[in-house]
Symmetry: C2
Subunit: 347 residues, 2 copies
C-alpha cells in the first residue's frame, strides 16, 4: 500500500468526497429513481402518484455533539429533527424513521432510554413513526444513525437545482442562533473545566442555547407555503450555514445570488452574543450552521403572498451565474460571499 | 446522577434492550404501519397493493469487523449484503440503499473509494440502487450505517411470528462456515502479530473465509420459493446463529422446535476446521452466526416440493410451545437448544 496514491480527506472536504463517490454510481439505471445523491433527500417514484423521499444522517460523539453539555433527551430529539428537516427541505412530509445506535459500556440502559425518550418526543411532535433500528456496542463514543422516509406529491417536490434568475430568496425564522448557542456552551464548558465550582452564566441565552441543543424542523413551513398558494422553485435547509446552502442552490441551479445583510433575520439574543464574543454579525449569519431553517426561492409573482408573513423574510434575489454570490452589507458595500460550511474533515 | 438507577447493558443484552425501548413506542398509532420493531424489517402499506420493507444496520470497527484482515472492498460488499439479507428474510425484494460513513483522518480518500467499490459491486449484484448517504468524520474507528428499503406483495410477506405446529423447518445453503472462517482469521492474526514474517495458512480455507468476509444475501431463495410455489409460514436470516434465529421464530410464534443434528447442512471445510480447532460441531452449527442463510418454515403439504431442492435442507419441524427447543444429536440423544446469539454488550 505504501506506494499507492494517498489523498487526504482534508484536501477535498466532505463535498469533494461526495462528488468523487457519486461518480461511481452515476451510471445506475432506474426508471424509479427521480433524484439520487446530491439533494437533501433521495427521491423515487413508486408509481402511485406520489414520490418517496429518504435521507440519512450519522451523528458522532465528539464531532456532532459534546455530552458535557448535551442532555441525552435533547440529543435524541435533535437526531430526529435534523432528519425530518431534510424532508421538509424537499417540501415533503416525513413518515417513518429507523434509528441505529452504537454505545460503549459507559452508557447505562437508563441513559439509552433517555435518548429514546427524546426520539419519542420528536416523533410525536413531527408525527413520524419509529419503525425499526439497530443497537450495538461501540468501542469509544456514542453514534446515532437516523434514516427518515417521507413523501411528497410530484407537483410539490422542490429541488436545489431549479432556482431561476429574478426569483426572490426567502428564509424562515432566523439564523446564527444555533451557532452562537454553541459558542456560549463551549465557553461555559471551558470555564467549568477550569473552575468546576462556578455556575454557568446562561442568563438571557435560553433561546440560542435551545436552538443549538434542541432545534426544530420547520414542518409548519410546508403547510404555510401550501396555504399561501406558493410553490417554491428551489429549497434547502440550513445545516451548514446560509452561505453554504446558497452555494448549493446557486451552483446546482447555475445562478448567482444577491443578499441584503439588513434583511437577514436575527434574534436579539443572537445579536447580544455576537457583540459579547466580538464576532462579525455577517459571519455568524452566513456561516453559522444548524439553525434548520428553510431557505427557498419563489418567483417574483409570489411577492405579495409572501411579504407580510411574520415568519418569512425576503433576503435577496437570484442573479445570473456570472454575477456570483454577493451580499450588500449594512454599511452599503458589496462583498463576495464565502462558503465556509463546516468541513468535517479539517483537523 | 449518582443516586439514579444504573442498569448495565450487559445485564439485559441487545434483545433485552430492544424490548425495553420498544415499549416506549408501542402506542404509536398508524393505519400505514403493518409491522414495526421486532422483525427483520419494518413493514408499511402505502396503499398501492404492495408493502414496503425497511431495515437498518450499524457496522462498527472493532465490533463487527477487524481491518487487520478485512479488505475494505469486502467490507463495503458485506455492509450491503447483510442489509439486503434482512429484506430477503421478509420474502421481499430490496430496491434502494442509503449509506452513512464515519471515518477518521487515518483513512485516505482512496481507502473510502475502495469501500464504495465494494458497495457498488454489491448494489449491482443485488440490483439495488444507492440513492443517498452521509459522510462525516469519526474520532477513532470506521463506522458504516446502511438502510435498505424494499418491497413485497402483501400476500407474500413473511414474518417471524407465524410458524405453526407441524411445519417443516428448512434452511438454505449451509451454516457454521462464517463462524469457522472468523476463527481461522483470528488465529492467523495472532500468528501474524507474534511472527510477522510467517505466511498465513489459508489453504483449503477459501470457502469459510469468503463466507466470513464476503457473505451473500440469498436473493435467489425468494425466487426459488416462488418458482416452487411455496409460501413460507415464517422466515428469518441467520445473522446471530441458527439457535438464536429459531428462538426468535419460536418465541414470537409461541411454538417449539425439534431439530436433527445430522440434517443441518455443513460444508466439508467447516467440518475440517471444527476438527482442527477441536470445537463442538453442534455449537458451531447452532451458535455460529453471520452465514446469512435463510431459515424458514413451510406447511407439511410443501414437503414434496421442497425435499429434492439441492440447496434447501429440511432440518426439523415445529412442535407445541410446551415441548421447547430440542435438538436430536447424531448420537441419538436429545438436548435442549441454547440461544447463544451474539450479545454485543457482553464485555
Amino acid at each position: 500500500m505504501a506506494t499507492e496514491k494517498r489523498t487526504e480527506l482534508s484536501q477535498i472536504g466532505e463535498f469533494g468526497l461526495i462528488n468523487r463517490l457519486k461518480e461511481g454510481f452515476s451510471h445506475q439505471n432506474s426508471n424509479l429513481l427521480v433524484k439520487g445523491i446530491g439533494d437533501d433527500a433521495a427521491v423515487w417514484d413508486l408509481g402511485n402518484g406520489k414520490y418517496q423521499l429518504q435521507s440519512t444522517d450519522l451523528l458522532v460523539e465528539g464531532v456532532h455533539f459534546d455530552l458535557t453539555y448535551t442532555p441525552l433527551k435533547h440529543l435524541g430529539y435533535k437526531a430526529i429533527a435534523v432528519n425530518v428537516s431534510d424532508i421538509v427541505a424537499m417540501n415533503g412530509k416525513a413518515l417513518f424513521v429507523v434509528v441505529g445506535i452504537a454505545v460503549s459500556n459507559r452508557f447505562s440502559v437508563e441513559a439509552i432510554e433517555e435518548i429514546y425518550s427524546g426520539i419519542q418526543l420528536a416523533c410525536e411532535k413531527y408525527n413520524v413513526l419509529l419503525v425499526g433500528g439497530d443497537t450495538t456496542t461501540s468501542r469509544s463514543g456514542l453514534i446515532l444513525s437516523v434514516t427518515v422516509t417521507g413523501e411528497v406529491s410530484s407537483e410539490k417536490v422542490t429541488y436545489r437545482n431549479t432556482a431561476n434568475v429574478n426569483d426572490l430568496i426567502c428564509i424562515s425564522g432566523d439564523v446564527g442562533a444555533a451557532y452562537m448557542g454553541l459558542q456560549v456552551l463551549e465557553r461555559e464548558k471551558q470555564v467549568y473545566l477550569a473552575h468546576p465550582d462556578m455556575q454557568p452564566e446562561l442568563d438571557m441565552k435560553e433561546y440560542i442555547i435551545k436552538r443549538q441543543l434542541r432545534p426544530e424542523a420547520r414542518i409548519d413551513m410546508v403547510q404555510t407555503l401550501e396555504q399561501l398558494g406558493v410553490q417554491p422553485t428551489a429549497m434547502i435547509d440550513v445545516s451548514d450555514g446560509l452561505a453554504s446552502e446558497l452555494f448549493h442552490i446557486c451552483s446546482q441551479s447555475s445562478v448567482g445570488a444577491y443578499l441584503y445583510e439588513e434583511r437577514i433575520p436575527i434574534h436579539p439574543q443572537t445579536v447580544e452574543s455576537i457583540n459579547e464574543f466580538q464576532l462579525s454579525p455577517l459571519t455568524a449569519m452566513l456561516n453559522g450552521g444548524e439553525d434548520y431553517e428553510i431557505v427557498f426561492t419563489v418567483p417574483p409573482s409570489a411577492h405579495e403572498r409572501i411579504r407580510n408573513h411574520p415568519d418569512i423574510s425576503i433576503i435577496g434575489y437570484i442573479t445570473p451565474s456570472s454575477d456570483g454570490l454577493k451580499v450588500e452589507t449594512r454599511g452599503g458595500s458589496v462583498a463576495s460571499m464565502q462558503s465556509q460550511g463546516w468541513n468535517h474533515f479539517k483537523p
